[in-house]
Symmetry: D2
Subunit: 401 residues, 4 copies
């Protein structure tokens, strides 16, 4: 290993690479969170979050890790003993279920092989069977960071509508918001859970709940105790550009800048960029002769690609070889995928050449770690990336000698 | 107002002025929170926190506002219906009580006029009366940020010992840690609650629980539900330099640097510096002919001085005049002190000349706002500050003509 | 001394305190100085410099200390043996003369007691006597940083006009530009020499030459050799937003931001602010019973005040006491003023409360260093500062008991 | 082009990518350049420069572009009419010659085809022929940034010794210092000229002269006029950790940090890293079927590779395609190479994956710009990079299907 010369490649599926502009924005003196300058900033940020989450309703911001926003969704809407339906899609859906159970919420899980997304038809069947409407919420993870599978939230919504079931719809967008198309209002989501450190290009430390009127109504009558996460306290304070406690001012500086960057690029361009990088990454994986964890071509994640290593090989040892030789962090296989798969994050503040550095590191690492594979993944990825600009006529390349 | 030229004077009692070194430390790329570099940093920070909190036991760090650490203290040790005894000393003790009540904790409050600290004899009397030991915890605020009163925690401990009462002792040190002498172990505190944005010289966004063995034991059997704040999950993960969720990596960078700065200066020097600045501030207040909220000379806060404005005058209008004319933020009177008092923060990354700028701004503001006062507060403050260096012989000043 | 806690007070007459916004702007990746992004930035900066220097002509920017711009003025316009007339006003005029003599320029100096500015009538007399027009240039320092005296450049121009003398007019504005009213075009200056680290609120490292058509014409025929400083090479490259060598890109980032800040505040407001701070400082000096070096009330510098210490006292020892006790840097007496005077810088990114911290440090330092003085300088300064806002009615203060 | 998302690839042969640590070090308040803290820093930096330049003699630091240090070498040692011998190796040797001629130095040039380094035997022949020792200096560029050719300075020294010629040896190390092995003392160099923005990993704005005793002796008697560049003034001030004018304090902060980073990595490791990256780059160039400008395998530059585009193609259009499609800046062909070659910088704060991103961008750009080439350069580069770590056993890769 050459040591820490040059930039570290942080290619876990989040925290993602934070832009200099965002870090520099955070690197400013903290101001009075009760003063007029703060209030003006806060109100502006709240509005900008609505545009990114695609909602006209409030987006609450908590000084916490994304896990806090999972908890906030739960304790503001449910009561002990309430039943919820969760589509298990990977490690993060399991963790969210465990969290719910700590609050005596009765979670019914739709199991899966962790290689595909939430199945709308399964959800529809369960809801149809629930004639008493005892299911209070349906919980799905938009982008399963542990598997690289993106669930079709809009289809789940349609299934719920078809079942005419009043359950709330909770969606975890921690690794999708700001990277993958998402529509809080249009898709009828009741609580969108998010964190700052992935598509929003921020360091970790802020979390989010976008809430529907129906979710707010539920929060008026549910009985789970809460204080820090209490929506109504936050919503009340937010009206004046304030919080019920000291907000994480410097992280908010960063968020203002990161959303400005997303909007300068344009959300549609952001989504398209991530799609292209997902395609290029999978082209490399295919060329290496390896298999993605995601088994459904319609559910490939644009932000992270989980890749199986062949039987008998250790994905964690591979990651260690890559870290030590090429100063790149890749994501580990989590839960039942531990040691069997590694994950390539290609999200946030990212571009073609950063992706090529990343994939080159993977290809060299496979070799150094003795993982059987074919060569040329990087060439396949370049073929995808090169094709992007229709305006430039590419000439056929001379064949390799 | 001249506008934002020069540095804003952030003289609220927290967030305090963040040192450039701390902001710059935070302004670095986020790293993999599951990698070896992170673990090494995290373990080092955990040890350094022990030194600052003066404990051999763990100090848990949460990605949250200080309010979260209040909640964590509660939900990890108490059960619904438990009784606690709280010394009301000002607005923050009231807020903490309200929080407890949201979790169905039965709070018995020892009221006060908000001008003095927790009275050890009162606590002792209540505990002596509680023969069944139904009181599970005693809760006090070390430094009441709303009043500028510092309670004598060691005396409360002694009172509890004399009463031979098994209640836990919870202490809020949000505005005292890193500024006012504090001894988690030596004073027998069970849960110390803290936030990053005051004496620790950090932006807001991190909170802390230092915990005794007795507190940890309580957490094994209490029944309040929790997940994000759960000590045992954090303690387990912390052993390997990790957290059960994504930690606020960049804030941790800052904390590492801010504790390094505290230790470079030396905690004893830090405490002495704050004492001196408190004295100088009160000398100015006396010279102006104004009255501090704190009524007990043994309980003056070294970090914040709350000052009454004369009857018939509006402290908030005064603060507005100061902000608009001198670009300085002062703290508002809170709760029952609203409009009646203002607060001068003199804590954290601070020195003599910053204090003189601050007091000059107050003196000029009193004048511009038409608050009746005598002149010369700044001269009185200088007399205190000048006396600090015994090694330099000061000559008598020529009398004012 | 309390050590480096809180902010250092950098109250030398430059480098001045650099705003966070400027430091943060510089703290960005260096870009290709031959690429389109750089060119766009460079052309914008060149235009903005014209607005600050108040000229329609080019302002050349050199990667160098301000001393380099002194040299550039000389080597681009003069030839060995040329005669120039220099008004000696203090140490910096002496240094500039010495520089000229190294290039075999024949400098005739109009001497002074270093307590007043360039005398227009003296210059007029010399020029009138120079019937052969052998004097090629008149050189004056707009603001003598070593004495706190501001020369009346417009009157010198008028004197030259009255004498109908064709000499070029060179003006050093290193410590005045961006702080004291200055008009390159309107005052008929031929070469304005400037540096980045004072009123322009930048770190040192950039210097400037604003040039008249007449100066450029002189540069076509003069014979002093030069390469780095050659105007014509720079002017040619500048047309395309480039330089003949690698420019100091990150310093240019800072300059862009600092000029933006000057223009946000408004140059007229900037000038007025410095005037007020100069007045307040002199009010303090008078109250202390001390004497300013500047002996002419019409020439007081708005950016720096040089103060004599009484006979038998050592100004440098005083400065050491201030540095060690209050972490404030004051300017030394230079040249013939060494040990006899100290200098207070009150320029650049500065405001009322920073000034009050500064003057408090001086007042306390006088005391600690045993310099005989009266007390109450800070009160006198506050009286000046308070009076600024006509919109707020100030009440008479109660007399000191 | 996707716009400025992700990091720009600055792959010109300098300015190179500045490490975050260096930018952050510069991003601190400017201090008093006459105070004790500054002096301590300055003396430390001067010592550290000696270690990097490999000399026991002084290394002078100028606030200027590297071009200034070229001029300083000249004006401190030569007199008008002096004769010097220069090995023309590319554009920068030409520019240096032009500079010399502006000072009436008589430059004899040893011409070349710009594809190889200074030829020691040619220099020896000229010196042998110069019986009167009229040649006062031999000037060579260690690493010709315009061609990617590294001259063998030690062989030139030996040739001079063999000729027993007293000429001074001037070496431009602007793009080699801190990247390519260099020995000021051991190689008997008299003036080493350097700039901050390449191997020293700094933004532009500082330049350097390392000087031998013989060079200093020459500076006592030569007659070219100078002031800003005058060694003796700087050397005198440097003894006390000062400069004869305001130094570029914040750039010095950065330099302190960048040299610390070089020494943490170890100069030998730094040299080896650049060697490997040069090899990998040339492996790619060969695989593409393109030709490097450097024609001598013993003179390949480890820091920059200049590549010819085939006849009839425009290297500048290629660079534009790369910039617009992949947000990467490559170096232009300079002088006689304009349009015929492009340059890949692989120096400074750089690592394997940054190189792979770079080479991928070149390979895709060749395709998009229609430059005839073979594919697979990136694979060839990876073969070089992979081989570095002997401790890991690499398995043979499965052949491409």
């Amino acid at each position: 290993m050459v040591g820490h010369t040059g930039r570290h490649f942080l290619q876990i599926p989040g925290p993602s690479n934070v832009p200099d502009r965002v870090l520099r924005a955070m690197d400013m003196p903290t101001i009075d969170h009760r003063g007029p300058e703060f209030a003006e900033m806060a109100l502006g940020i709240m509005e900008s979050c609505k545009r990114v989450f695609r909602t006209k309703n409030p987006v609450l911001i908590f000084p916490s890790s994304g896990t806090g926003a999972w908890e906030a969704a739960m304790v503001n809407t449910l009561s002990p003993g309430d039943k919820v339906l969760m589509a298990e899609t990977g490690q993060f859906s399991v963790l969210w279920r465990n969290l719910a159970e700590r609050f005596q919420v009765d979670v019914e899980t739709i199991p899966s092989d962790w290689r595909r997304g939430a199945k709308a038809s399964d959800i529809e069947a369960r809801l149809n069977a629930d004639k008493q409407h005892s299911i209070k919420a349906v919980m799905i993870v938009h982008n399963e960071t542990s598997t690289g599978v993106t669930s079709r939230v809009d289809e789940v919504r349609k299934a719920m509508d078809r079942a005419r079931h009043p359950a709330l719809l909770f969606v975890d967008t921690i690794s999708s918001m700001g990277s993958i198309r998402y529509e809080h209002d249009a898709w009828g989501v009741d609580v969108t859970v998010c964190g700052s450190q992935k598509g929003l290009m921020m360091p970790p430390g802020l979390s989010f709940n976008a809430v529907s009127d129906k979710a707010i109504a539920a929060s008026k009558t549910n009985t789970l105790p809460r204080s820090y996460w209490d929506w109504n306290e936050v919503l009340k304070a937010n009206q004046a550009g304030s919080w019920p406690y000291t907000p994480a001012t410097n992280l908010l500086y960063g968020l203002r800048e990161s959303i400005a960057m997303l909007e300068e690029e344009g959300l549609e361009n952001v989504y398209a960029r991530h799609q292209k990088h997902g395609e290029a990454t999978r082209a490399a994986v295919r060329a290496w002769g390896l298999e993605t964890v995601c088994a459904d071509a319609g559910e490939y994640s644009p932000v992270t690609t989980a890749v199986f290593v062949p039987e008998g090989h250790d994905a964690d040892r591979f990651r260690k070889v890559v870290l030590e030789n090429f100063d790149m962090s890749l994501g580990a296989g989590l839960g039942r995928l531990q040691g069997r798969a590694f994950r390539i994050g290609h999200l946030g503040h990212f571009n073609d050449l950063m992706l090529m550095g990343t994939l080159s590191g993977v290809e060299m690492g496979l070799d150094l770690a003795g993982i059987p594979h074919k060569q040329g993944g990087v060439l396949a990825a370049m073929d995808v990336l090169k094709s992007k600009d229709e305006g430039v006529v590419a000439v056929p390349r001379v064949a390799v000698a």
